[in-house]
Amino acid sequence: MAEVLVYVDHVDGAVRKPTLELLTLARRIGEPVAVALGNGAGDTAAALAEHGAVKVLTHEASEYADYLVVPKVDALQAAVEAVPASAVLVPSSAEGKEIAARLALRIGSGIITDAVDLEAGDEGPVATQSVFAASFTTKSRVSKGTPVITVKPNSAAVEAAPAAGTVSELNVTFGGLATGTKVTGRTPRESTGRPELTEAAIVVSGGRGVNGSENFALIEALADSLGAAVGASRAAVDAGWYPHTNQVGQTGKSVSPQLYIASGISGAIQHRAGMQTSKTIVAINKDAEAPIFDLVDYGVVGDLFDVVPQLTEGIRIRKG
């Protein structure tokens, strides 16, 4: 069976969930060979093997943290040259898409980004994409070279499938462009302890109706009762009530959780573009005419200041 390269997204050796999902999808089209780079790369092996990686290629070097994007492209190119892969899969983060694009160009291949599903086809892997604010789906494939495909988080359920996970070191030579963009400073974001927005199974978002940063505590309390991530609409972010890194929508993050709860969000097309692929959608809004209600599985027309605390309390009681 052909080998499929999977780029590993990890933080100091802790593999992020979208990579484990990718391993599940990779097994549909071949045998996953994982590529882990940077600090802690070797520590990823156990988790990757547990989820189906037959081989793990690792390389640690300070360049991955000190310079932007290109060192990772150099490494992935080295992996493509070392392994006769039938496809390369990369998580659809902003950086993942850039790495994938540059790799595709270098190896003379096409690229598909933001796939939401992947299956084997007669002429290579077939990727499903969701376009135009999720009003259409397309099925596409790469018609030249080794297909390079990025896949959105939550596109597959993580499945354990123990495999050998044989670790070997990847031989990487950095090119002249690798040190082009220097990271001169890094301020880590304070952890909230909540799941990452794009990976979370449940997202609770607040919008204009939340009416002030202090009131986001209500949204956070609801999120915490469900173990959810917190999102915000552009209106709430532009008003300075919540950080931009939590913005859901066309100019923010695209999320696709099992459950999306929108509170005080009207549902402008720009917001819908970022959340419409959510499996179950719930909205709370005072305005019965708000376009978000066109999308919902369950909607409550009411004041979020009444409904949200009652919902949070209701969840706590049920969880006992």
Binding site: V11, A101, S135, T138, R141, R186, R234, A288, D297, G314
Partner: protein, 265 residues
């Protein structure tokens, strides 16, 4: 010193319009109004701000806006010119129809080189395709540093500096010119074209280039050159209306019951 800034912009179908696909599975641009991609307005704005700063410091700065697209894509250029860009380049050729991202990056890279540049500033993604790969592809093609997703950007001498607010950290970045940067919607509010700006834009030069001027073989672009193929397009049925109820004081409890029924609790 002089600083030549090129801003590649895209003319996109209005997201609030009824977007759909044509028979050849490309985006149908005939039935929906187009406009300058909103995310590119931030790039134009940052180019203007850098230009204003550098001119104050005594530098010569010239901003060229560039687009690849059919005749009406000129509207996107006019908007950028009316905001304050100095001149525009329109790459138009019938053979471009069906070009994918890899092909578009070839056309843009050739046009950027032909126009001459020290700094390329683009939006973080287009609002239609939303791939977000073009700045990286251009950096790869042109062999210059890429500095993407900036919420802040400045140019000092021949160094471009920026701040990128990522999921886990906020990073300070720097690169030597020539370079390519992309900016997010957090980089700063965009200006509205003034009446004076709109009038002045009518007199600014718009150069048109075809594939032959850029010395690009037609088989490298269009449907033939595309490295990806769309096999099928399906319109999703509109989500069927769910349960909507008016809060009578029990709305939160009812919602909790719904979530429990769906096994989220």
């Amino acid at each position: 010193m002089s600083l030549r800034i090129v801003v590649p912009v895209k003319y996109v179908p209005d997201a609030t319009g009824d977007r759909h696909f044509a028979d050849d599975l490309t985006v149908d641009r005939d039935d929906v109004d187009g406009l300058l991609s909103e995310l590119d307005e931030y790039a134009v704005e940052q180019a203007l701000q850098i230009s204003e700063d550098r001119q104050e410091a005594g530098d010569d700065v010239e901003i060229t806006v560039l687009t690849v697209g059919p005749e009406d894509a000129k509207d996107a250029l006019r908007k950028a010119l009316s905001m304050g860009a100095d001149k525009a380049v329109h790459v138009e050729d019938d053979d471009l129809h069906g070009t994918d991202a890899i092909g578009t990056s070839l056309v843009l890279a050739k046009a950027i080189e032909k126009a001459g540049y020290d700094l390329v500033i683009s939006g973080m993604a287009s609002t239609d395709g939303t791939m977000g790969v073009m700045p990286a592809l251009l950096a790869e093609r042109l062999g210059v540093p890429q500095m993407t997703l900036l919420s802040e950007v400045t140019v000092e001498d021949d160094i471009v500096k920026g701040r990128r607010d990522g999921d886990t950290a906020s990073e300070q970045l720097e690169a030597q010119l020539p370079a390519i940067v992309s900016v997010t919607d957090q980089s700063g509010e965009t200006r509205y074209p003034s009446f004076k700006g709109i009038m002045a834009a009518k007199k600014k030069p718009v150069t048109s280039w075809g594939l032959s001027e850029l010395e690009i073989d037609t088989e490298k672009v269009g449907h033939e050159g595309a490295c990806t193929k769309v096999d099928a397009v399906a319109e999703l049925p509109a989500r069927t209306a769910g349960t909507i109820l008016k809060d009578d004081g029990e709305g939160g409890k009812q919602l909790a019951a719904f979530l429990a029924e769906r096994k989220f609790i």
